[in-house]
Subunit: 317 residues, 2 copies
């Protein structure tokens, strides 16, 4: 498999991305072909510094960089030679099988939507986050921000996408899917939640277990939790702040340390036809390495084919 | 002033409510007249047990109890002799100045809306919660659950109500009001947040400081944070769960202990013409005492008159 990496994306680029290569290569037995996309005049000396033969990699020169604060659509249009634009070009033309970046999130999302198609039947691609559960397990929450306003059908599809991801990537058999809500019983919630509940309940391909409330987010009541991107984004950022609180209060606790989202790597855009993984701006070498491994796992488990199949079956005759 | 207390409400009723009387009477110099509403055959012996002269209080016999799991509207209608129904009757007829209960929250809300009018100009009464800030200060978040679907105008009014409450009850001069959102800049968010931002910005009676994100909830970026009741309820219950996590992980930390919402007492319904305070089902004696003190403070600071004035000025000529 061929993984494209935006070497210029993230606060510590390209240094941490280069360091990640060592971590990755020492961890896997049959590494993927790595396409390093970025300014070769910066990348090549760094590779040598870290003891790599630059010939070992496919270096794709992209002299421009989209900065973190640039307007996504404008920047992508004007900086055709940027690492993100070049990466999507390679991905769309099939020259790479997955694209990873810790750069401008907006540009990554715009690039995904315009360069890579949504899978047939998927109304709205989505991004998710890992949620550390108090009992040691791991949950998935989606959408966490790209779909701030949703229709009930979107939440239903997030349930299907999240369920497939939990099953094949997180290794959770028959994942329990729940709706984030403000009460336990069916019929509770805002108009969206009230309408989404019966749709989720009637979706045969998922194991819907009902509502979860704010108090259940960190409890192992469900594996996949769905909501619109407004609530999801607030939950994600509150969860991230728990780690900040622990740091500030100098609390050393294994569970609270799992809220260090920097180390998880990135989040995949789910529902699009090729693997795109978006990293946190502050991604370190471990985070980059985890993104390489995630891209590989998405490829090897044929997650996208499984999503395609699922949405094919579900579409009206 | 005359405070009515539902002695039968809450998981530990009437014991904890009776205990709270001692705490309250030993703390204040000129106590309010306390109207104890409930089953006098249960209350009187308990009062004697705790060393009180029952004659000291106005005991209002209410032999029925609305249980925690009963349907609010149905129960209120059918149990006219319940402590909640009797309490609202006393409040509506002016026989008490404030009503406190840790009973069935739904019944308290229904009772409030039907017995006590919204203040002229207030579109939707609201409930708020205290948010402990990492730097030791205290914030206010509203709505936390009675308005799951909101219009932009509702959020604007929550800003005004929250600001007055923060000023007069929490003692925060010129409180900073913020909109809970998923980005920093104006224009970010879902359709509701996008429409509410300019309304809040143009409200002269509040000190609007822009958006706060999930990561800012516990940070001292704003004193009053407004959102619709869906997001607010999820935030509140997540915050409550932080205390549960600390307990489970046996983390002893002063800040995390401030997430023990049981001890705060209750939340007032804001925007209605008389003080109604709703306690947590698990309210202990301290929580009850804090509710008595809050009722007193709302009365003494003339908060409701200030809210009335504010909405009078704001209404169109």
């Amino acid at each position: 498999m061929k993984i494209g990496i935006d070497m210029m994306g993230g606060d510590f680029a390209p240094k941490e991305a280069v360091k990640a290569l060592n971590l990755y290569l020492s961890e896997v037995t049959t590494p993927a072909n790595l396409f390093l996309i970025g300014d070769q005049e910066q990348i090549v000396p760094l590779l040598k510094e870290e003891g790599h033969d630059p010939e070992r990699f496919a270096i794709v020169h992209a002299p421009q960089v989209i900065e973190m604060n640039e307007h996504p659509t404008k920047a992508l249009k004007e900086k055709q030679q940027s690492s993100i634009a070049v990466g999507f070009h390679l991905l769309a033309s099939g020259k790479i099988d997955a694209f990873i970046s810790a750069g401008n999130t907006g540009a990554m999302l715009v690039g995904t939507m315009y360069s890579i198609k949504a899978i047939d039947g998927v109304l709205r691609p989505t991004i998710s986050t890992i949620i550390p559960k108090l009992n040691g397990k791991t949950g998935l929450l989606l959408d966490v921000g790209i779909n701030a306003d949703c229709k009930p059908e979107n939440l239903q599809q997030f349930g299907v996408l999240g369920s497939l991801y939990a099953q094949h990537i997180l290794g959770i058999p028959n994942p329990r899917v729940a709706l984030v809500n403000i009460g336990e019983e069916e019929g509770k919630g805002n108009l969206l939640a009230q309408a989404a509940y019966p749709l989720l309940k009637e979706t045969p391909s998922i194991n819907f277990v009902g509502n979860v409330e704010g108090r259940d987010i960190f409890i192992d009541k469900a594996d996949v939790m769905v909501c619109e991107g407004f609530t999801g984004n607030v939950i994600l950022k509150m969860a991230e702040s728990i780690y900040e609180i622990a740091k500030e209060r100098q609390i050393s606790d294994d569970y609270l340390h799992r809220f260090n989202f920097e180390s998880y790597g990135g989040v995949p855009v789910l529902g699009v036809s090729r693997p795109v993984i978006i990293g946190h701006g502050i991604s370190n070498a471990t985070a980059f390495k985890n993104m390489f491994l995630l891209a590989e796992k998405m490829f090897n488990t044929q997650l996208l084919d499984k999503i395609k199949e699922s949405f094919q079956t579900a579409s009206p005759e």
